[in-house]
């Protein structure tokens, strides 16, 4: 202990794993390394050239601009789903309804995008966004509202609402905005004005990318610097304490649900207007809402962490796709193994606990000796 005793907080910033944030970072890194090691073992079994295969997964996406462009384009809507889940979970909610909101707001986007309501290529996507955000924000309230008014279980209602919203979406698309051109149930083609163009085509950077960055920063500030963020923190950590402190659980759950619904709307609009030219309810947006929950876990409900995690996962997926392209023996699903192991390890309470405890024991005794 050679610390400067005059600065009373110096010790707190010491680099040691008793610092929880640093510990989380170390845990994450080690989890990723373990996952990659296991992946490598599997690659050894199925690939003729495992070293090259793992290299391709890790660095393949960087080899061509369009590969990294594909990552940038696809991770945005995914990140929005993660942010939506992060907002809900941060405040201690059990609302798992993002999936349904993604799907039903898709119908709103498809409807507006196929309607000749404006000829402006800027206004048209903006209207799609606004429509999806509005509908998403309203519909996401349902589980929280029913819980407050009728004492229903938020998780059950939200899971059921996923199916209900999916069914309503199928009905809307089939009966109101379908086309006879294709066999499957899908919407009419969007008008060209609704499509979102690129700001920098080689890397497929569009205005959506900027939107994501702005939204992430705003969310970060809201969650860490505002009264609402404070309410979310205390309610998410101890709901009884929040009640005792005078935070209205009802108002908070409605507020966070609206924000999450709006984020889902942003995500579905981004996905549809950048990656599809018509909406297929059984396909276009399925699974994104659920994956968002995994992202919020990986990112520890921190908006910036969530966005990084979204990029990381899409990057690995792209790497696996490149690998499949050069070595057909390795299915691109290999990357699911990495995802699964990482999520399992970082959500484990016990992983690396001994290491941390030993360090704490040492520090605790040192401190005591002072």
């Amino acid at each position: 202990m050679t610390d400067n005793k005059n600065s009373k907080y110096s010790k707190n910033y010491k680099l040691s794993i008793s610092n929880p944030k640093l510990f989380d970072a170390i845990k994450m890194t080690i989890a990723i390394l373990i996952a990659l090691a296991i992946t490598f073992v599997i690659l050894c079994l199925i690939s003729k050239d495992p070293v090259n295969a793992i290299k391709t997964i890790l660095f393949g996406p960087l080899s061509k601009k369009r590969y990294i462009g594909a990552v940038i384009e696809s991770f945005i809507s995914f990140a929005f789903a993660g942010l939506a889940a992060g907002v809900l979970f941060k405040a201690g909610g059990f609302n798992l309804g993002a999936e349904g909101i993604f799907i039903i707001t898709g119908a709103v986007v498809a409807w507006i995008a196929a309607s000749p309501i404006t000829t402006s290529p800027i206004l048209h996507p903006v209207l799609c966004y606004l429509g999806a955000m509005l509908v998403g924000g309203i519909l996401m309230i349902l589980p929280s509202f029913l819980k407050a008014k009728f004492g229903t279980n938020e998780m059950v209602v939200s899971l059921m609402s996923n199916s209900i919203y999916a069914a309503i979406t199928a009905y809307i698309v089939r009966n109101w905005i379908s086309t006879a051109q294709r066999g499957s149930v899908s919407s009419k083609d969007y008008l060209p004005t609704a499509r979102i163009g690129y700001l920098y085509e080689p890397l497929r950077i569009s205005a959506c990318f900027i939107l994501l960055i702005v939204v992430t920063i705003v969310l970060y500030l809201v969650m860490n610097k505002t009264k609402l963020g404070y309410q979310m923190r205390i309610a998410g950590t101890n709901p009884k304490f929040a009640e005792y402190s005078g935070v209205s659980a009802f108002r908070l759950s409605i507020t966070t649900a609206v924000i999450a619904g709006v984020l889902c709307g942003m995500g579905s609009t981004t996905q549809l207007l950048t990656q599809t030219s018509y909406y297929t309810p059984a396909q276009s947006l399925v699974g994104i809402g659920f994956s968002g929950m995994l992202l919020s876990m990986l990112g520890k409900n921190n908006p910036i962490g969530i966005v990084i995690a979204a990029f990381f996962i899409k990057y690995l997926e792209q790497g696996a796709a490149v690998l499949y392209f050069v070595d057909g023996a390795v299915p691109s699903e290999i990357v699911s193994i990495v995802e699964g192991i990482v999520i399992m390890l970082i959500s484990s309470q016990y992983f690396l606990r001994r290491l941390r405890e030993r360090q704490l024991l040492k520090e605790g005794l040192e401190e005591h000796a002072e």
Partner: protein, 520 residues
Amino acid sequence: MSETILKLDNVTKVYPNGTVANRDINMEFEKGEIHSIVGENGAGKSTLMKVIFGIERPSSGSVTYKGEETNFSSSMDAIKAGIGMVHQHFMLIPSFSIVDNIILGDEPTSGIFIDKKEAARRCQELSDKYNFELDVNAKVSTLSVAKRQKVEILKTLYRNAELIILDEPTSVLTPQETDKLFDQLRSFKEQGHTILFISHKLEEVKKISDKISVIRNGVSKGTYLNEDLSMQQLTNLIIGRDLDSDMNAYKTHEDFHNEKALVIKDLYMERNGKPVLDHMSFAVKNGEILGIAGVEGNGQQELVRCITGLEETAYTGDIEICGNRVNELNIKGRRDLGMAYIPEDRMGDGIAGSLPISDNLISTYYDRDDINNKVFMNSKAIKETAENLVKTFAVKTKTIDAAVNSLSGGNIQKVVVAREYNTNSKFMIAEQPTHGIDIGSEEFVHHKLIEMRNAGAGILLVSANLNEVMSLSDRIIVMFDGQIAGYFPNAKDVSESELGMYMLGAKHQTPQEIGGALND
């Protein structure tokens, strides 16, 4: 001379959050003695007991029981070895009979069935042998707190415990019940049992112990024969300095024009068809502390929940806070009128454990203007507020960014009290404000309550600790069975045993006498 039953050698325990609860503790316990362990709550008594009882494993050092080093992997091993523990919070199933509770986990069988008859016979035999006066077929839910405690003790005896650990056994008892318990403990001692007695109440420790061991800050401060130790010395050993116990000396007497912080009129509430609050009326004036004494479970909790606005069951009657009727307001509305509240369940209601101390210090006024800018919260002001409070309330921490649950119980309570103090409220509910915390913190909290009182706040003190009620209050109400059983306009003029009679329901005042609680 006599044989050593339990020996601790250099026991050290460090918790995963880095807290060193015990450090190199050496202690010896002899067979057939009543040995008290005293110390502040953060001091590590409970941890030491958990180590002995096999709930926690020591990080280093060894525990030797009857000459053999123990290596308990759970409390089951300890029980098998002959160690019994009566926890502060009883571990009984209310809907089961006494016998069922006692044999749970160790049922005598005949064939594949539980031999209830044999079990009942053995339990009754034990109960009679030790003079427990229990009908072992009665349901636990029908028993008083003192009797439930007896069941817990009987349970340890049924499992042939030779060493019995009692963790704060008197915290739920009236003075009369405590005396009875002590008689019983002495008879156990005569039968050759060893008693390990843990308590905060030093008078009781002095009364019952043969030997006293002191722990301070996780370190043993030695074992002493009771007769070699004066009260003064004991206090000194525990907190490392003298303590002043006469709180009245700090009270000033200013006139607050008889303004009332709280008025309760004819409050009535039922639960399961039984009245839990039975037409209560009283008032708390500004600049006074009104103490509510009573054995736990006589409606105090319900009363507090009605006043704070957290109660969900319907009730009748009027509640006024600082001159406003608040029946329809939620807790936020009541807080805005000037109510502050130190909750009984500190960990459950009073803090968000994993959040920083600073977050926990502002929760009940996080929306106040002085710590907010237009859009964002003013982190600089929050930091200043938190650092000031940590300093004024002597919260032992390196930084306000530490998670609040890394603190000891006493320091957590200081955080809670500091926060409520900083609301600058005119009316404060202090519910068991020093329950389970160390003497040093207790004294500190008491001083702060008196300080608020002197500044003109009305304080409703609800406590199961009679000494606390008597030393802090200006007026006292005793609650029994949801009613005001006694009202004492002058706290100084009433004795402990007198209050005890009312707490047990042996005495009850006339409506005229009780009426003074509202009108004085």
